[in-house]
Every structure is written in structure tokens, then in C-alpha cells.
Point group: C2
């Protein structure tokens, strides 16, 4: 039974990758750089995005694609910052899935103002397992790991920590109040993804947000070069 | 495509429930009360279990079934407390699933000393979505919600908060250091699961652990009555 399931999953991932490439081609044509932002529930993705949108500067035009099982709580918070926000609810037509997949993102593309946007941030469903398996057509995969989650998470969810190219270590303002060994987290991180970029941030105090914004601006720069290369 | 997927999921859940009933019958025959413990990654299930095993008293014989995508970190921690611990890794033969299902638990039954145990705690994979969908043969479903995860989680993951009969609100020692409105969490909790039992706990300081142990002892009591009724 379980071998069959593994094959079904592999076929589904093949189909997903095909659709992800179609999404990526659409994003490239529109000149949009796409970041797939992933984390466990409650790691602070939305609060971080609120801070980021305020700090990034008005010359970068941002849109958000919000993924949740149900509800529009995060989308409502971000829409209050006057950025275009599109909501995907996996409970509506997508079987209540615990992650976004390329087909869900594809279904949202007509609703997004891609031609008027430089950066699209896709806030994935809060989950450290399945989102790492499904590419959605993004340029970059970034994860948020909160220090309140413990030092062992890279070892327990290695696929997620390997899938991303930047780890935002969030809620560092709480470090004085936790039995948390930051060196141990970094050691575990390097054990599963040696040398992966990491930034210490606090969405609450703003610590590290300028560095994260600089990372995003560099990502946009490489996106511009890519669009130029495509149109050349 | 997605309608087909929904039907595949429904068929899988039907099969799962059949196997869960078989597990439950085995647990009943052995007179074991089974608690399925669920939470997001890093909410503190394992630390809570360490505290609980120390506090519960030696007259209650406990075993743990540890569910992880991979690795044995939590199992190793709990085995150090001299309780029988059995590990399920979903990455080994179960397609890296983001939850335990009844068939995985069934595969572990021969390895567990059920006849020598009063309470079996199944520590599920850290995830607020799929574990709520899969019964595994448990008597009770309990979830751990950390105050660091924010007040909105019941609204974003309502199936999980509805599936359980007790919510352990953990890490309350951090409340003075968070922008967290406990009343709002409780309000949201009652909005999705009116009146569900809840206990404020801190696995770190031990706050609330006696109440949680008392809850477990009452659960064991009802388990004994069930076993008596079954054998009568």
C-alpha cells in the first residue's frame, strides 16, 4: 500500500513541476521576482512581511499571494498596508491541503497584477514538511525559523531547511528569555545545509530587517538581469 | 484534478478509519489508554512529555510512540527517562508523510509492550493540518498550542482545534515577554470549539503540570471502566 502511495506522490510531484515551470515562465515574462516564504505555524511570516513592506521602500512594487487552509486573516492584515493581496484557501477546491502547489498558484495568476509588480511574495501554509516538496514557480525559497521552536528543527525537518536558500532566524528579541542555544541551531543548520545563508531578525523590534530588505533587493537585481537576458 | 484528489483522500480516510478501529480494539484488549498528542513544530510536546513522565508517578506505567519524518532525537530524549519508546519515521517506508496514520501505528503495535502499560502517548509529527484528519486508534486527542505562535491559530487551523478534547496552552512562562493577548486566544478557541477543555502550562517551569497529570489520571480511570465494561 505504501509503495503505491510513494509512486502516486512521485507522479503528482512530476505534474507539479511541469505546472511550476509554466508559472515561472509567466513570472519571467512579467519581470516579477518571486519568493516562496515558508515556516511552521506561528513562526512570524505575516508580522515579518508587515515589517518588510514598511521597510522596503516605495520604489519596490510588492504583491502578496497568501496561502492558508482557510480564512483571510493574514491577507486582511497585509491588505491594510495597501499592497495587492490575493488569497488561496486550500479548503476551497483544493482538498484542504497542508501546502501550496503549483496548480493552486497557477489558478491565482489571473487575479494578480503581475505587470505592475517587481516582487511577489508567496506566503505558504504554515508547515515544515510538505511545502518543501512542491515548487510553485518561485525564484527563491526562504524559510522563517523562530528561536522559540528549539535548536533541533533542522535535524527533524531537514528537507525544508535544505530546500531554502535563506533562513530567517526570527524572534531573536526573545533569546534572553529562552533556554535556547543559538550556536547549536547554527551547528544543526550547517549539518543539514552547509553554509546556507542565514539572518538573525526580529519582526517585533525590527532587528535584522534592513539586512533582509537588502537581500530582497539583491534578489530583485538578479531578477532584472534574468528578464534582460530573456528579452535579449 | 482536484475533485479527483478529494475523492482519493476520502477513500484513504475510510481505509484509515477501518485500521484505526482495529488498533483501538488491540489497545482495549490490552487495557491501555491511548493519547494522541499533536501540535505545530516546536510547540513543546517532547519537553512537556519529559516533565509529565517525571511528575506522573511510578504507579502509572507509560509508553511512548514517537512519530517523526526522520531521526530519533525525541525518542532518545524520552528513552533516557526509562520508559519504553518506539519510533516511527514516516520517511522510512511511509513516503515522508507529514502525519501519523492508523497503518503506521498498526505497524508499530508488535514492537510495543502493551500488556505492561497503562498509558500510551503517541507523539504525532509536528503539523497543525493533516494529523487532525487521521485517527490512529486513540482514546483521546490532545493538542499543545504555544503562546509564541500567536492568538490567531484556532481560526487558521480550526480542524485541529476542533479535533482535540483538551488544549494545553504551553510556554505561559513567556507571556510577560510577548505581545500576546491570552483572552483573545481563548476567545478564538471558543469560536471554533466552544467550551473545549484547556489548561495553561509551562513545560519549562512546571506550571500547570499537576493539572495535566490529573487530567491524564482521569483519562486512565475512564479507560479502566472501559476495559471492565469490555470484559464484562
Amino acid at each position: 500500500m505504501h509503495r503505491t502511495r510513494v509512486r502516486v506522490v512521485e507522479d503528482a510531484l512530476d505534474a507539479n513541476n511541469t505546472i511550476a515551470r509554466a508559472n515561472r515562465a509567466d513570472f519571467d515574462r512579467a519581470g516579477v521576482t518571486v519568493v516562496n516564504l515558508m515556516s511552521a505555524p506561528g513562526a512570524g511570516k505575516t508580522t515579518l512581511l508587515e515589517r518588510t513592506l514598511a521597510a522596503l521602500g516605495t520604489d519596490v512594487r510588492v504583491a502578496v499571494l497568501e496561502g492558508d487552509v482557510q480564512g483571510t486573516l493574514d491577507a486582511d492584515r497585509l491588505a491594510a498596508l495597501h499592497v495587492p493581496v490575493t488569497q488561496i484557501n486550500t479548503a476551497q477546491g483544493f482538498g484542504g491541503e497542508c501546502h501550496l502547489d503549483a496548480n493552486m498558484v497557477r489558478s491565482a495568476i489571473p487575479a494578480m497584477p503581475l505587470d505592475d509588480v517587481d516582487l511577489l511574495v508567496i506566503e505558504n501554509v504554515g508547515n515544515l514538511v510538505c511545502p518543501a516538496e512542491f515548487r510553485v514557480g518561485e525564484d527563491h525559497r526562504v524559510m522563517v525559523a523562530s528561536v522559540t521552536e528549539g535548536e533541533d528543527k533542522p535535524l527533524k525537518y531537514p528537507l525544508m531547511f535544505r530546500a531554502c536558500e535563506l533562513v530567517l532566524i526570527n524572534k531573536v528579541d526573545l533569546l534572553p528569555h529562552l533556554d535556547f542555544d543559538l550556536d547549536r541551531l547554527l551547528y544543526n543548520l550547517d549539518a543539514v545545509h552547509p553554509g546556507v545563508a542565514r539572518l538573525l531578525v526580529s519582526a517585533r523590534t525590527g532587528e535584522g530587517i534592513p539586512d533582509w530588505c537588502a537581500w530582497l533587493r539583491r534578489a530583485l537585481g538578479s531578477g532584472d538581469r534574468r528578464a534582460a537576458a530573456t528579452s535579449a
